[in-house]
Amino acid sequence: MSQFKAHSVLPGFNLALGFTLLYLSLIVLIPLSALFFKTATLGWGGFWEVVTGERVLAALRVTFVTSFAAAVINALFGLIVAWVLVRYRFPGKRIVDALVDLPFALPTAVAGIVLATLYAPNGWLGQHFAAHDIKVAYTPLGIVVALTFIGLPFVVRTVQPVLADVEAEVEEAAASLGAGRWDVFRRVIFPAIYPALLTGFALAFARAIGEYGSVIFIAGNMPYISEIAPLLIVAKLEQYDYAGATAIAVAMLLISFALLLSINALQWWSSRRGGR
């Protein structure tokens, strides 16, 4: 009962897991540990001083709040897009389906510039917002727009296959028992796709935290207002303050890790409850 792995006749677990861990260590863990060692040269006090600096705190807040907002927007609209793509037929559906992945492939700098021009006060879209006194580009709102763009595919792509797998019989059973359409969605379909939605949310959130290229072009980068943490890292690097830069990086890494781990644990728990 206290064994590490449940018995299975399938072979190759040790090999596969061993290789996975080795590769993971070489490509991710060892490189990232370099950050921690570099930060350690600051000492605990030095580290604390850097990450609790007013500007750093503001930048961390901007990063995580805008990332969270973008991930929420993507969760909501990504769910609707996945629903529409799975359930309805309309002209141009296949093209739309293919285009959803584009933010993965478009160089983020290009995305940032294009979004900045679109949402600038004189841009195609920005002028309409400007007419209502809303500034998008060069504000935190602009950051949310950029982060929404780059995280857009995640929720759609994780929810889509699971939604397609929801058995029609279950829905029909619920409908035949008198459940309205909204009830069917809320009580039958949503619980089934919830774990996938969480995964998509986690991925979009993570990607948003790490994003740099697109954000710096649309954010305006005003300290305390629209400056993201990675930009501060770059600033420290340009002053050759490597330890300071790694301190911010470590803080970001720890927060993201904690958030991701709790979302993945929640996902694991809820999919287990739902019998996957």
């Binding site: 677990f13 370099a34 570099k38 359930r87 959803v100 160089p107 857009l152 740099y212 996902q267």
Partner: protein
């Protein structure tokens, strides 16, 4: 009558009892498309409009510049190495995670996701810390006259790091959905581990693997910041080209190169989509 007709036309569902009303259907489609147009369609359109605003000639001229060419080559080399490496990892990780129950699975998945959350700035920094002149392996590399950072290997390594989660994340749900009865059947018929994998599992997941590879290929185009940190002064990748050009101002040249990239990306994405929706040739049910 008209409602039923619209439902027939607009939806895939088999029975009216499990359909939304046509009003809701239309509303959802409208919301979904507006969202996509706003965040996806318009930016894309802008790229192309700008790219071709000065005509085809300039577009071609921009692509023919030697700098652009060497950048394209380097980008392709990085992709050509990082994709297979991550593919092998992705398949191994998906096999372990999808087919077995073990403790610490959530932790492992989180660690695989982690590069997503690492800013490219940070990953660039990490590789400088490791392989730079003052880095851990810097002196050793120098002593053996190996140039890693500010050279092609560095870019490849960084590309691997950034595209690392994509393939594994694509393959895990695929393998989970496939179940493990067929593998158990193969084992009970006397197949060895390798035989089970390459005769049963691999053919079934093959379309997904190809799709994931194409996908990772498209993703690996997008590593300008990393390349910016790690590329040697003379060598640059396509995204660095773009970045450098952007610094000089928003020129048609920039857009020409982006349009080329985007076109390439779209092509591989469409191909990917076709394969993923194509299902295995002979579906199980």
């Amino acid at each position: 009558m008209s409602i039923a007709k619209l439902n027939n036309q607009a939806t895939l569902c088999r029975r009216i009892s499990t359909c939304e009303s046509s009003g809701v259907t239309l509303l959802l489609i409208t919301v979904a498309l507006s969202y996509l147009v706003l965040f996806l369609g318009l930016p894309l359109l802008a790229v192309f409009v700008e790219a071709f605003s000065k005509g085809w000639a300039l577009y071609w001229a921009a692509l023919q510049e030697p700098d652009a060419w060497s950048a394209i080559q380097l980008t392709l080399i990085a992709a050509a190495i990082s994709v297979p490496a991550n593919l092998v990892f992705g398949v191994a990780a998906a096999w372990a995670i999808a087919k077995f129950e073990f403790k610490g699975k959530s932790l492992l998945i989180t660690l695989i996701d982690l590069p997503f959350a690492v800013s490219p700035v940070v990953s660039g920094l990490v590789f400088v810390l490791l392989f730079g002149a003052q880095g851990w392996f810097g002196p050793w590399l120098q002593a053996h006259d190996i140039k890693l950072i500010f050279a092609v290997p560095g870019i490849v390594l960084a590309t691997i790091f950034v595209t690392f989660p994509f393939i594994a994340r694509e393959l895990i749900p695929l393998m989970q959905a496939q179940g493990k009865e067929e593998e158990e059947a193969a084992v009970s018929l006397g197949a060895s581990g390798w035989q089970t994998f390459h005769r049963v599992t691999l053919p079934i997941i093959a379309p997904g693997v190809v799709a994931a590879a194409l996908f990772a290929f498209a993703v690996s185009f997008d590593q300008f910041v990393i390349s910016y940190f790690l590329a040697p002064p003379g060598v640059s990748t396509l995204p660095v080209e773009i970045y450098a050009a952007i610094r000089k101002g928003f020129t048609p040249e920039v857009n020409a190169v982006s349009a080329a990239l985007v076109t390439l990306a779209i092509k591989s994405l469409v191909e990917w989509q076709a394969r993923r929706s194509g299902e295995p040739l002979h579906g199980a049910h």
